[in-house]
Amino acid sequence: MSLRVTQRSISANTTANLQHSLSQMQRLQEQLSSGRQLARPSDSPTGTVSALRLRADLRRGEQLVRNASDGLGWLGTADSALTQSLDVIGRVRELALRGRNGSMGPDDRAAIATEVDALREHLLGIANTTYLGRPLFAGTAAATVAYDAAGVYQGDAGAVDRTVLDGVSVTVNVTGPAAFGPAGADVFTVLVDIADHLRNDPTQLGTDVAALDQRSLDLKTELAQVGARYHQVEAMRSRTEGARLDAQNALAEVESVDLPRTITELKMQEVAYQAALSATARVIQPSLLDFLR
C-alpha cells in the first residue's frame, strides 16, 4: 500500500523542506557576510587545527621578524662603530709614522701627541656607542658605558643572542675586548703609549705601530664577522617573511570563504528556495472542495 497523503503531511513536508532550504541560505549568507567559512570547530575539525596552527605560526613569525630587526639594529650599529674605529686607528698610525720621522722636533711631536690624545677620546666615544640606551660593546653587563675614561673595560663577556628562526639564534653583539683588544693590550693603552712615546721616547714608536696594526687586524676580522652575521640575519628575516606570506595564503585558503563559489551557491540556493515556494503555493491550494459545485 502506498502512503496515504494528507494535507497535514504535505504542509509538514513542505515546511521542513523550506526550513532546510532557508537554513542552507542562512549558512551561505553567514559565510559571505563574515568572509569566513570556518565559524566553529565542527565546520571542519581538520581545517580548524590547520587554522589554529597557521595562526600560531603567523604570530611566531611576526615575533621572529621583530627579533631579526632588532638584531639587525645591533649589528648595523656595531658595523658603523667598528668602521669608524678603523678610520681613527688609520689616522693614528699615520701620525705615529710621521712622529717617528727623525726630522720632527720635540714640539712637533708634542703637537702630534695632543692630536693622538684627542683621537683616543674620540675612539673611547665610539667604543661607548649605545643601542637603545645600552652600551653596544659592554656585553650583557648592566653598565652605563663600555669603557670608562681611563679606558678600562666595564662590561662582561656575555653574548646578546637573538632568536631569528625557531632553534636558530645569532649573537648580535661584539664585546669590547673582542673588538678593541684584551685588557692591558687594548687599543686605548696602545694609544696612550703612542702619545707618551711621541713626547718622550720616539724610538719605541716602531713597536707601538706594530701593536696598533695587530689591533687594526683584529678589528677588521671582527668587522668581517659582523658583516657576515648581518647578512645571515637579513637572509633569515626574509625567509621568515616569505614563510609568513605562505602561512597567510594558507590561512586564507583554510579559513576564508571562496567568494565566487559561495555566491554561486547562494544564487543556486535562492533559485531552489523560490522554486520550492511557488511549488508549495500550488500544492497547498487545491482540494476537492475547489471542484465540487
Binding site: 570547530p41 600560531a56 650583557t140 648592566a142
Partner: protein, 448 residues
C-alpha cells in the same frame, strides 16, 4: 416480513448515513488538530433472525444497516516505534545544543580565542627578551599573562554554568514529566469508565497519545497497553504510570565539585534510567562538561608547568633567582602575586645581574600548551560534527516515521469530501426509499 419493515430499513439508513456525515464533519473540523486521529464510522448490514424456528421462518431481505462503532485509525506499532525514535531524537538534539554552546564558548578559530591569547603571551616573552630592562615590555607581558589566566577562568566558568543550567532544565523537565504522568493516569481512569459505559473515548485516547509522546521526548518513556483500555508508561523498564496509579521522579544533585546529577524514583530512591532530552541533559552535566573542564585544566596546568619550569631557572632584574610565574589555586591558574605586583620579578636573565633575555627568549619559543589546546579543540570539533551528523540522520528517520503516522492517522480533505458526497447521496436515496414505502402504504390503505 412485516408491513412496516421497509420504513424501519429506511430509518436505519437515515441514522447510519447521518452518523457517517457527522464523523466526516468531525474529521474535517480536526484536520489541523495536533495528535488527532481520523475516525471512520463502521457500518454493518443488519440481517434478520438467522436461526430458523419451527413455525416462523424469516424470509425478508434484512433489517437495514447499523452503525456499530466509530473506529479510530492509528497504528499502535508505529506509535511505539515513534516513541523510541522521538526519544532518541530529543536526546541527540540536546547533546547537539550542548556541543554548540561549548563551541561558541571557545570561539575558535579567531583572533580572540584562547589560542591567540596564548600566542600573544609567548610574544610578550619575546619582547621582554629583546629589551629586558624595558619596564613597558615587562608590564605588557604581565597584562597578557593576566588576560590569559582570566580567559582560562572565564571558559571554565562558562562550562560550569552550562552544567548548572542543564541541571535546572532537567529539574523543570522532570516536574513536567510528573505532571504529564498524572494527567495520563487521569485520562486512563476517564477512558476506562467511558469504555465500560460503551461511550466513545476516541478523542480522550488521542489526548493521551499526545501526552505519551511528550513523555517519550522528555525521558524516553515507552508505553504498553494496560488493562481496561488504559495505557501504562514505563521509564527505563519501571512503571511511571500503571492504570490510574502514578510514580514520581525527582532530580538529585551530588556534592561539589563534580555536581553529578541523577534522576531517581521518589518512592524507593533507585536511579531511573532515563532517555530522551533528560538523558542529554544528564550527559551534559555528568560527562561532557566535566570532561571539557578537565581538558581545559590540563592545558592550564601545562602552561603553568612549562612556564614555571623555565622561569625558576632565570634571574629577575635585581639578580634574585626566579620565582614560579604561575600558580594553581582553587580558581584555576593565576599569575603569582609576587610577580604580578612587581614586573621586575620577571626572570628574563640567565645570569644574575646581567642584562640578558635568554630565559625570556627560551619561554617565547614554547608551544607545548598550544599543541595540547589544538588537540582539545579538534577533539571537540570532531565530537560536535559527529553529533550533528547523527542528528541529521535521526531527524530524517523521525520525519519519515511521522509521515507514516500521518499517513495512517491524518485527515485528507479530499477523502473526507468524497465520503461526505457519497454519504449525502446515500442519505437522499434512503429518504427517497422512505417516500416510496410511504407511497406503497398509501396505495394499500387507499384500497380499503
Amino acid at each position: 416480513m412485516g408491513t412496516f419493515d421497509g420504513l424501519n430499513i429506511g430509518l436505519s439508513a437515515l441514522y447510519a448515513q447521518r452518523r457517517a456525515i457527522e464523523v466526516a464533519g468531525q474529521n474535517i473540523a480536526n484536520v489541523n488538530t495536533e495528535g488527532y486521529s481520523r475516525q471512520r464510522s463502521e457500518m454493518v448490514a443488519e440481517s434478520g433472525p438467522v436461526v430458523p424456528a419451527l413455525f416462523s421462518r424469516y424470509e425478508g431481505t434484512g433489517l437495514g444497516v447499523r452503525s456499530v462503532e466509530v473506529e479510530r485509525m492509528r497504528d499502535q506499532f508505529l506509535e511505539a516505534r515513534a516513541h523510541r525514535e522521538h526519544g532518541a531524537d530529543a536526546y541527540l538534539g540536546q547533546v547537539q545544543v550542548t556541543m554548540d554552546r561549548i563551541e561558541l564558548a571557545y570561539a575558535e578559530p579567531s583572533d580572540t580565542g584562547l589560542a591567540s591569547q596564548l600566542a600573544d603571551f609567548w610574544a610578550g616573552w619575546d619582547d621582554v627578551g629583546l629589551s629586558p630592562t624595558d619596564p613597558a615590555a615587562r608590564s605588557q607581558l604581565l597584562e597578557r599573562a593576566t588576560t590569559l589566566t582570566s580567559t582560562f577562568q572565564q571558559l571554565d566558568q562558562a562550562l560550569a554554568d552550562l552544567g548548572a543550567a542543564s541541571v535546572e532544565q532537567l529539574t523543570a523537565a522532570i516536574q513536567e514529566v510528573n505532571a504529564i504522568a498524572g494527567r495520563i493516569a487521569d485520562l486512563n481512569g476517564n477512558i476506562r469508565s467511558a469504555t465500560a459505559a460503551g461511550l466513545n473515548a476516541n478523542d480522550l485516547i488521542d489526548q493521551r497519545d499526545l501526552l505519551a509522546m511528550q513523555l517519550a521526548e522528555h525521558v524516553g518513556a515507552t508505553v504498553r497497553p494496560g488493562e481496561g483500555g488504559s495505557l501504562d508508561v514505563y521509564v527505563g523498564g519501571m512503571a511511571l504510570v500503571r492504570s490510574t496509579s502514578v510514580e514520581q521522579l525527582t532530580v538529585e544533585v551530588g556534592a561539589g565539585p563534580a555536581f553529578a546529577a541523577r534522576v531517581a524514583w521518589v518512592d524507593d530512591g533507585l536511579t531511573a534510567t532515563v532517555g530522551g532530552r533528560a538523558q542529554g541533559l544528564l550527559e551534559t552535566n555528568n560527562d561532557i562538561v566535566p570532561a571539557q573542564r578537565a581538558e581545559l585544566l590540563a592545558v592550564a596546568q601545562r602552561v603553568h608547568d612549562d612556564v614555571n619550569a623555565i622561569h625558576v631557572t632565570g634571574f629577575d632584574q635585581s639578580g634574585a633567582a626566579g620565582v614560579p610565574f604561575f600558580q594553581m589555586g582553587p580558581t584555576g591558574i593565576t599569575v603569582n602575586p609576587l610577580v604580578a605586583g612587581d614586573p621586575t620579578r620577571i626572570a628574563a636573565s640567565s645570569s644574575p645581574g646581567a642584562i640578558d633575555g635568554s630565559v625570556a627568549q627560551q619561554l617565547a619559543a614554547q608551544d607545548g600548551p598550544d599543541g595540547l589546546y589544538r588537540e582539545m579543540v579538534v577533539r571537540l570539533g570532531v565530537a560536535a560534527q559527529t553529533t550533528n551528523r547523527r542528528v541529521e540522520v535521526q531527524d530524517a528517520i523521525v520525519q519519515q516515521l511521522d509521515a507514516a503516522r500521518e499517513s495512517e492517522a491524518g485527515v485528507n480533505i479530499d477523502e473526507e469530501m468524497t465520503n461526505l458526497v457519497s454519504f449525502q447521496h446515500a442519505y437522499s436515496a434512503a429518504a427517497r426509499f422512505v417516500t416510496v414505502v410511504d407511497d406503497l402504504l398509501e396505495t394499500l390503505i387507499g384500497m380499503v
